[in-house]
């Protein structure tokens, strides 16, 4: 065991030395997942990189990519006298066109925050006369949880619960980024999305766009290993000594096929659909909507694509696409702070702007 630990520590030192000393052409890796952006900040990984290596955060925080029309619809629902909106805490301060859910609540709107969508079952059973609407945002990681909720609603004959969905999927938005010239040399693939979908989901993207993917976990050492491995792959792809592929640096959780049962549950309740992304517009087949036979569980999720900036100088859209860093926005840390967020990336704890500000990151 001691030997194993010794091996491990010496390898970590080797990784750190390579990352710090790299002196080749500039390489940019996008971490798509908001939890990765948060972990990279927390562990100080960006501070270990040579000036030629760049980690840029992408559109993987579901709260940050939700358009204002969705927030406005939630507020509208929360103001109906017989309706309570139930949400994860992250969403509550995201600005809509006029105000946020938090503002609406201070005006008397009925809004409950929960840790799990399953908490809505208890609420709905205790108050059968009210309608409960869950703000169902999320990527492939969270969609199976909503599928499990729908199954429970059916099994327990609960009829006073609906979902307002803003569900997103990764492949189409990654394609969009590759096709819209963001200059990305590789991707750190989201580990908990891959836990559900399997790492195989990224293989066609690696082949089509010639960029490597490294599936990463969230603990300091496993994340560092994935960052190192993905930079190495990107350098080798640039030198044309390697074909772009998908490498799994999170094997304790991620397999090539993922969780088939979870995938089946998602397909049972949801169809692929076009989805609206803050700053990027509607991207075909980049999300999920409830299947027509489950329309009774839907609180009006289709066509919520409009998106309005609260502050015209806000650059959240450019940040989400990896085209600028949070510090390049004129509002960052001045008008826009976690206490008075002007854009969604400053609201969510996993938003790029929030992370860069809290950890004083400049790169």
């Amino acid at each position: 065991m001691t030997d194993l630990k010794h091996d491990y520590d010496s390898q970590i030192e080797k990784i750190k030395a390579w990352l710090a000393a790299y002196d080749g052409p500039d390489i940019s890796i996008m971490e798509v997942c908001g939890s990765h952006t948060a972990a990279i900040s927390k562990y100080g990984i960006s501070g270990l990189l040579s000036p030629r290596l760049h980690l840029i955060s992408g559109p993987g925080c579901p709260v940050c990519v939700t358009p204002t029309a969705y927030i406005d619809r939630l507020i509208e629902l929360s103001l109906e006298p017989d309706t309570t909106v139930v949400t994860f805490g992250d969403l509550i301060r995201v600005p809509g066109r006029e105000c946020s859910l938090a503002d609406a609540r201070s005006e008397g709107a009925q809004i409950e925050m929960v840790y799990s969508p399953m908490d809505i079952l208890r609420l709905a059973q205790e108050h059968r006369e009210r309608r409960y609407v869950f703000a169902a945002v999320g990527f492939e990681t969270t969609t199976p949880v909503y599928a499990m909720l729908l199954q429970q609603l059916q099994e327990q004959n609960i009829e006073n619960v609906q979902l307002l969905t803003a569900l997103k999927t990764m492949p189409a938005v990654i394609s969009w980024l590759c096709e819209n010239g963001s200059g990305i040399d590789g991707f750190l693939a989201p580990g908990h999305v891959a836990a559900v979908t399997g790492s195989g989901m990224f293989e066609p993207l690696a082949v089509k766009y010639g960029v490597p993917f490294g599936v990463a976990g969230f603990e300091a050492k496993e994340l560092l290993l994935a960052v190192y491995g993905t930079f190495q792959s990107a350098v080798r792809c640039r030198e044309r000594v390697m074909q772009a592929d998908v490498r799994n640096y999170y094997p304790s959780v991620v397999s090539r096929d993922g969780n088939r049962l979870a995938q089946q549950m998602v397909d049972r309740y949801f169809d692929m659909a076009d989805a609206s992304w803050r700053g990027m517009g509607v991207i075909p087949a980049s999300g999920r909507l409830l299947r027509p036979e489950y329309a009774r569980f839907d609180a009006g999720s289709a066509c919520l694509s409009e998106d309005h900036k609260k502050n015209q100088a806000c650059r959240c859209d450019q940040v989400l696409m990896g085209r600028c860093l949070p510090g390049d926005c004129p509002l960052f840390g001045k008008v826009c702070t976690p206490l008075s967020p002007q854009g969604a990336c400053m609201v969510s704890e996993e938003g790029s702007c929030h992370q860069y500000l809290m950890y004083h990151r400049t790169r």
Binding site: G34, F88, Y115, F139, T142, L225, Q232, N259
Partner: protein
């Protein structure tokens, strides 16, 4: 938002299971992956999403060696 934590399955009930996160015990919905008492599982938003395979430390070292050899 997609944060998921590994915990240990303590007891299994009809629809959910009791999962221990370093002493903090939480009930999580099961049904998306076959589990038994003692398994380490990944929990996201109150739902068990995946079972962890063992031998992680060895896996990490093997992965590092693979990068080096490539």
């Amino acid at each position: 938002m997609c944060v998921a934590l590994p915990g240990k399955v303590i007891e299994i009930y009809e629809r959910d299971a009791l999962v221990d996160f370093s002493g903090n015990r939480v009930r999580a919905i099961c049904g998306l992956v076959p589990i038994k008492v003692g398994d380490y599982v990944l929990v996201h938003a109150g739902c068990i999403l995946q079972k962890l395979s063992t031998g992680e430390a060895q896996d990490m070292i093997r992965l590092f060696e693979e990068i080096e050899e490539a």
